[in-house]
Subunit: 261 residues, 2 copies
DNA sequence: CGCGGGCTTGAATCCGCTCAAGTGGGGTGG
DNA sequence: CCACCCCACTTGAGCGGATTCAAGCCCGCG
């Protein structure tokens, strides 16, 4: 089953001939090329889990939102990273005795490639392994930023960064600003930010009071001034600048980077 | 300059013929093979920094201890990862606008490879890029564990995990237990653990009082019962099980992993 | 209409931080 | 050799932010 065939909403790269879809262009389908690996799409309902088991797998999120999760013995949970449509995941099976899994936080579709079926290809195909290296490298940079967030930012900063990041990733631009439909529960957000659900809720109220975002409902907010929100955190939103249109943003980014030195 | 020639203490893999040293066997020299890249050893005194700039570089720590650091605009610092002798580093230049650098936390020696000088090799050499993928992947697993530490463990747990991890990495086994010469300042430990120096000091005192470790001086401690120390944290020490002799540890690890599910 | 789950808000507690004072060991200069 | 200094570390007091526990609210659903 080809991920592009799964739903007609996903455009094929070449009009339907070879494998690969636009959503995967930068990810699985783009990297693995047409034909050599067989992708498989999966529909995940909220709470559903995927584990790579002992095999090396690669996933591209097509729709929804998924988390890479882990759980401690006493039930404490940590969301290690959040992935939104278009992003590629290739997580290790476990990290130092902590088992990891992919969990859908909302109804999601995901495209799966099992690389283990052709292990030699990985060792002998330079393009493929260079691509995997690139993916792993991006993941490293992303986790570093999140690690700094958990290690050094306070609650307000974490939440503002999260809201700005989500606006960039899944917000839709409207005349009133960025409108974001948040498909996450407070608990999920808390587990991502290293806080607890009540604290997240309280901080959302403060954000609202400070007019940094308007919450129309528990699952939707609008950001009028994304930069004001972003500037509340001393780190750039992980997915910000790339998704932003060029304008003078590069200059702004350079300035921020300078400051952060 | 070949890293093995730098100091006679580092044994060559093949008795001196081709490049590569034992310390690098699993890292730079082992991966890059003799001859194709020229390693360069550097002596770093405490506080010295290395930056990859725009080029892709790979470092193997030969001696001492180095940190991958970042700094926020207001001076908050976070140590993203700590590397001890034998470990390989290939960090991105920056993570979401946060610039990263390698900083020696004690007198250190490090072996550097500049991969940019032969960019095509990376794209066309499958063995090389597969090796880089493996390195990046290990780094991802390591950072995930640290991220969970910062997100969900309290001070005591973080410190116990740190002390156990260091015992495994740089402790020497003596009849009295593991003796560890800690070449780090309290501030550095704090920046690694997302705490502050005073808190680290206070928790060290608690650890001492609880007889989990004896501090002979601010820079040396002895752990009698490594397992007792380790069990204070609900995560395995990042570098623990591998450095531990086999005995029944695999069984214990399996049990822990089960529980953590 | 009642139920339940997720969200919000409040009160009390606890943990880590800030600020500040005190201690100890290594190094320098007299 | 000793006195002194300096810096890192330790320890204490008070504060503030996040958690816990608990109550109340909102909304969808049976």
């Amino acid at each position: 089953m080809d991920c592009c065939l799964w739903e007609s909403g996903f455009e094929r790269m070449d009009g339907g001939q070879a494998g690969g879809c636009r959503r995967c262009e930068e990810g699985g389908c783009g990297l693995l090329g047409p034909g050599s690996f067989v992708p498989r799409t999966r529909q995940l309902s909220r709470g559903a889990r995927l584990e790579s088991g002992s095999s090396l797998k690669l996933w591209t999120v097509l729709d929804g939102i998924v988390a890479l999760c882990t759980l401690l013995a006493d039930g404490r949970r940590q969301v290690v990273c959040l992935s939104t449509p278009g992003e590629v995941l290739c997580p290790p099976e476990e990290a130092q005795g902590l088992s990891l899994w992919i969990e859908a936080l909302a109804e999601s579709q995901i495209c799966e490639f099992d690389l283990s079926v052709r292990v030699q290809s990985i060792a002998s195909d330079a393009t493929l392994s260079a691509g995997l290296f690139r993916i792993a490298r991006e993941q490293v940079a992303c986790v570093y930023a999140h690690l700094v967030t958990l290690g050094r930012l306070d609650g307000m900063e974490r939440v503002c960064l999260f809201l700005a990041d989500m606006a960039w990733r899944i917000g839709e631009r409207t005349p009133a600003g960025y409108r974001v439909r948040l498909p996450l529960a407070r608990e999920d957000i808390a587990d991502y930010l290293g806080l607890n659900a009540e604290t997240v809720s309280r901080i959302f109220s403060r954000v609202k009071k400070a007019r940094l975002a308007d919450f129309n409902s528990p699952t939707e907010y609008v950001v009028r001034d994304l930069e004001a929100l972003q500037s509340r955190a001393p780190i750039l939103a992980p997915h910000g600048p790339a998704a932003f249109d060029a304008e003078n943003l590069t200059g702004k980014m350079a300035r921020k980077m300078e400051v952060s030195l």
